[in-house]
């Protein structure tokens, strides 16, 4: 772990000193995004050292032909790849004819990078001495506008400090970029047009196969000591490249500055034949405001976000920095503005996981977005799956299901499955349950039942049909069984009767039946519309019920626990603490078969079910299962520690809860899994938020009311968070001695605090 690399700071991520072997990791950590696009913290100027270049446009992907050693029937044709998009941030710099390159220059001093999370910008400062002896101080600032989400702005200033220097600034656009991750070294982009007009340039490029038409654009202004300079640039146009050269004789200690505005317009939002004119409109707005005004707007926009979603922690800067980093990255990734988008596990910070949608959204991210945004955002995330229902039915058909059964994909961009390991793609079917659970969770939290008759019930029916067909009857057990699955714990493959999956399947069917009845009673016209569409017979419904009622639930009488799957107790039950530390992490040290037959759990599995359905189990049951499974859990998935943190807090094991909290919140900052160079773990960041609000704060919904059981780790003086509950904003402040609730808005709010009813009036503070 790089435990002490990032400087502890309440509001910023700060790196001091330039280490070439840390460049890729820092490119991930300092990533910026605005929901519509995002980019790794690559340098503007040329860098010849090891770097992982990445700039991503939300929703723009490539269907990379599936590559496997041995083809198996049912594999999807392609794996959707998030695309490294044309580079618009580039500004090459020549100083007395020598290219500025931090990898090759003589000396780099006072290097400092800051990601200011409060205001939403990235800056860099350094003093470089070139081979030609010129020492130059560079200060940069960059942000992607939240307000104008097709544009970003860069301020790049250079000051020669030991002599005058001829400096050439070369802002450029480059569509000759590649992905690090391609299956067949295919070309992903086809550049169709490279044009320039005055100080503006445009590259039109189309993705191969998917035909997303994009226009990457830029416009620049240069200044000496903040005074605008009129320089006619030399223009260089190539097949995939255009650059402007602004050459100037800069005096010692003068500051030569460029403001570069750039970004993307895409045919998902504009007419594909009008992309250049759309880009000109964007540039006109940005230029008219100018860098400083855009920056002020950025600060304001982030202020609005933070005013709702901030969590404060006093007395523990690392914990504070961790949670803010998590909240910041979530907001950089997804803002709920476009129902075609979703939350990729690595957001806009890397190529891994293809930038696609996983069950992470429903299982981990929805609570965060429900509580810190308008509830429409969560509803938009639900609608994303509703819009993919036909594809989920198609996907199920490909695997042999019929009659409208829906199997949502493990990984998707457009509703089609695009993952290709059989043990995941075909078998990790619990994802279907998370999608149903999210509907329940949304309705429970927001109280907005309307989503079900309007859209949700159709999704639930498709999912219930899948479980009905997927379960088979075991005459031996005289029960329905679900054979050959992979549960949330991916260190088991092709197991029978994974408890989590069976329990969830049973719940999905029951929940669907319950809501069919309710909608029949209370939303007659919706009911008729839906039934005309899905053609659900009473016979089929009776069969569903039979499956749910007779679902096999693996249980050990000896241990008095639900079994993760059939045969779990046949394993050598050596606990993690008795496992040689040199063998960890097992996913790097052991062959796959050894992992599979071991008892070690990659991420919460039975405990994930206890998290979802907490109110169906007693605290004693939770404790027993936590004690049994935690001892075998290696948390080698980013999605694991948050669930354990919440449950440890519930069981009053605050030290353990705190340890899990640090692990989840600083997973990337401290690089626990030695892989941050590949990108950040965005979706698990929502789990971090849950571990404070639901874990320490103990927030639950009980009978349409908010309920809290506030606790606080010894290491903290106090913490606070806000939630938007049914359009009322409640601020919760927990210290070692008391809990304070503060309500915005106009109506009073009934709470449960430690199971005692509490009534709060608007604009009042209640201390408990």
């Amino acid at each position: 772990m790089n435990q002490n690399y990032i400087k502890p700071n309440n509001w910023s991520i700060i790196e001091e000193g330039f280490q070439t072997d840390r460049v890729k990791s820092s490119e991930s950590l300092f990533s910026i995004g605005n929901g519509a696009m995002g980019q790794r913290a690559n340098f503007e100027e040329h860098y010849s050292g090891p770097t992982f270049q990445g700039s991503y446009i939300a929703g723009v992907y490539y269907p990379d032909k599936t590559r496997v050693g041995w083809w198996k029937n049912g594999y999807p044709e392609y794996f959707a790849k998030v695309l490294n998009a044309p580079n618009w941030i580039g500004i090459n710099v020549e100083i007395n004819g020598e290219q500025l390159d931090l990898f090759t220059c003589k000396r780099v001093e006072n290097f400092k990078r800051e990601l200011n999370m409060q205001e939403g910008w990235l800056s860099r400062h350094f003093v470089a001495t070139l081979k030609n002896g010129i020492t130059i101080e560079v200060i940069t600032k960059r942000f992607l506008s939240l307000e104008l989400d097709e544009v970003g702005a860069i301020q790049y200033s250079l000051k020669p400090i030991n002599s005058d220097a001829e400096i050439t600034l070369k802002p450029y656009l480059d569509s000759g970029i590649t992905n690090e991750d391609t299956n067949w070294d295919d070309k992903f982009w086809d550049t169709t047009n490279v044009v320039h007009d005055n100080h503006q340039a445009f590259i039109e490029a189309k993705t191969m196969k998917t035909s997303f038409n994009t226009c990457t654009f830029m416009e620049s202004q240069v200044f000496i000591n903040d005074k605008a300079l009129k320089i006619e640039p030399r223009i260089n146009v190539e097949a995939n490249y255009v650059s402007f050269s602004y050459k100037h004789q800069v005096k010692q200690n003068e500051t030569y500055t460029i403001h570069k505005f750039g970004g993307y317009v895409v045919d998902t939002k504009h007419d594909k034949n009008e992309l250049i004119s759309a880009a000109k409109t964007v540039l006109k707005t940005a230029l008219k405001a100018g860098f400083n005004t855009l920056l002020e707007d950025q600060k304001t926009a982030w202020k609005v976000i933070w005013s709702m979603s901030d969590i404060t922690i006093s007395g523990d800067v690392k914990a504070q920095q961790g949670i803010r980093f998590n909240i910041f990255q979530l907001n950089q990734t997804y803002l709920g503005r476009d129902s075609r988008l979703n939350i990729g596990p690595k957001g806009f910070t890397g190529e891994k996981y293809g930038g696609s949608t996983y069950w992470d959204t429903e299982a981990y991210c929805i609570p965060f977005y429900m509580a810190t945004k308008d509830q429409k955002v969560a509803r938009t995330l639900l609608e994303y799956r509703y819009n993919h229902l036909a594809k989920a039915i198609e996907n199920a058909e490909k695997l042999g299901y019929s009659n409208g059964a829906a199997l949502y994909p493990m990984v998707t961009m457009n509703g089609e499955e695009c993952h290709n390991e059989w043990e995941i793609t075909f078998e990790e079917i619990h994802r279907n349950g998370a999608i149903a659970f999210a509907i329940y969770n949304y309705q429970r939290y927001t109280g907005d039942y309307s989503y079900l008759p309007e859209k949700g019930l159709e999704v639930l029916i498709g999912i219930a049909r899948f479980w009905h067909q997927r379960a088979t009857f075991s005459t031996d057990k005289n029960r329905y069984v679900i054979l050959g699955v992979t549960g949330p714990n991916e260190y088991e493959n092709n197991v029978n009767n994974n408890w989590y999956t069976n329990y969830l399947a049973q719940w999905c069917i029951n929940y669907t039946i319950e809501n069919i009845s309710k909608i029949e009673d209370e939303y007659a016209s919706d009911f008729t519309r839906i039934m005309n569409k899905v053609k659900l017979s009473t016979l089929e419904l009776a069969e569903w019920k039979s499956v749910a009622q007779n679902m096999y639930i693996p249980y050990s009488d000896k241990h008095n626990i639900y079994l993760q799957q059939d045969g779990f107790l046949d394993k050598e039950l050596i606990t993690v603490k008795d496992l040689d530390k040199l063998q960890r992490p097992i996913n790097q040290k052991w062959s796959w078969d050894r992992i599979l037959r071991s008892p070690y759990i990659k991420q919460a599995d039975v405990l994930q079910g206890f998290y979802f359905f907490e109110d169906q189990f007693t605290d004693e049951e939770l404790e027993r299962h936590f004690d049994f499974y935690e001892q075998f859990t290696v948390h080698e998935s980013s999605l694991s520690p948050c669930v354990h943190s919440i449950q440890a807090a519930k069981l009053n094991r605050m030290d353990q809860a705190y340890t899990f909290y640090l692990r989840t919140s600083r997973l990337d900052l401290d690089d626990y899994n030695k892989e941050v160079h590949e990108g950040l773990h965005i979706t698990s960041m929502a789990g971090t938020w849950m571990s404070i609000v639901e874990g320490f704060g103990g927030m639950r919904i009980k009978n349409n009311q908010l309920s809290f059981t506030p606790k606080i780790p010894d290491q903290w003086e106090a913490y606070s968070f806000k939630v938007n509950f049914r359009n009322q904003i409640l601020k919760v402040h927990v210290s070692q001695t008391e809990t304070k609730f503060e309500l915005e808005g106009e109506a009073k709010l009934q709470l449960l605090v430690n199971n005692t009813p509490v009534s709060i009036l608007p604009m009042h503070l209640v201390t408990i």
Copy 2:
């Protein structure tokens, strides 16, 4: 199925008529080989239609870098590929300036291809009319010499039948060849030298990475009406190519003939710097003999093979043709002359399965080679694994085992694992058991115990150590279990307690312990040598015993059968006959997950164990297990029907046994699995042999004696086979009314026939 494509014939495989869509299939079916090299039946002359070019040199392979979608720890670095080697058979033909090409010429008539199995040659006859109007009759004959196994010979004759014609014959060598199957489109061959000398040409080429140095060579002679012609050829040399052009004005009805001799010399047998001179020596010998003498030698060599290995069947030409095709192909593939070689599942007939060694050799091929060859051949096959013991230990170490535990690879060329599906590579560990069983089987049949103290025991100890370490103790079952395996039935992955695997593991340990004792008692100096090497403690031995004694054996009390694996009875037990025929073969119709959770068995699994260890079960037990498992077996592996045929015969179900026999013996000839274009199923052909000798003939070894329980299908008048039992040759002739035994040699032989002792004197015939 192409049921009626190949003409029924006792001694030949015959195709009549030219169908371009059958070219690839016929290229497989008419393949020729001599144990040292082999080739698909590609045309000598240029063919522009769909074709699968293949010429293979035994033991020459390329380590193709592993390609998987998601890398898992423990994957081998490469998959060994059998290499399409430089083409030496090529003879292009120009007639009045037009290239002869059966795909584009105006008309092809009287096309007939014959693979004469009795004499070991391939011929082709056709009359082609070219676009230029010339009609030409072509007759070719080709063989790979059994005697001079580095050389092959071609006689290619043309007769213009409607006018005179200028004919140019262009024999060539071409090393610019590629594999159909490559992971990364790597170049596999590096041509280092192309030279010619008089009528001879040589291409030296080296395999990339593995650096096998080869020299491909040719020399040609031309004739008019069998009279030698002196033509100085025009010579064309390119980077990877050399051709000679023999142009001649051929009169109508004259026959223009070329004899081309060619082949390979390899540095596995020659000094790599002397390859051309080695090739010249080979050519000198071949040319001195000439085509006709070489052909006579070929007939003689095959006569010797057939005199020992032939099986006759009267009254059923298709059955007769089937068994001879199987015996012929086995002899073309492996003759036991080189201990570095083995029997690839596709022999020299295609690229699939990499031409590598699988457990097929030990489980299926050894009995054939033991009974139809000198027993040294079988011993050579055992030594192949002894020579790979160090690599098997290394392979086990890579997967976390220690202390000399040996895991033989699933697929190998040189002892290293080179397969890369985790569910096979890491989990199909029963292969280790087959290797131990083969030692037992060899000793049982040949009576040659000396292999054990000399070499076999070390292999057994490595294998026993593996099973000891691989089994883990289940406190729940109070037994040792073997978790996470794939059994012979590859339609199950990552299952627990596969009966076959557990039973075999137990047997391996017991058999090893038994032989350690025997060798300690009877081979003291070998014992000391081995123990000094393997350092086996009494404690370890005690642990082995404990594992074997306490091995968990899955059993169903309800069905009174051993269970294929834990949880098998949880499946939906719909029998194959109740399965919609449109769903077959399931490996082409169903997604992998559906196959996995189905009850369908790809190949004998529990029944494979019953086959190996028949004497440990009663006939009633066999019948019960056969009845239970056969109904779920889809036989989608080539290795399955033979075992079921043997067991059906044992159970007196002769119709069923006959059906399975036809399926196994004509699998390729009738293309049951619609894949013969990829190559032939060589290793399962040994299973066909077993289904007659062990199935119908009922041959077993009981207390060091041959035992028979002869049966005969209604469809046959009679059948006969010969076995070499401990250097005595016994011929068995079974008709509908009697069985006759005939003994060669000098000593008398004690048999059991239908469990009654029978004594046979040499050169006598006994009728029963």
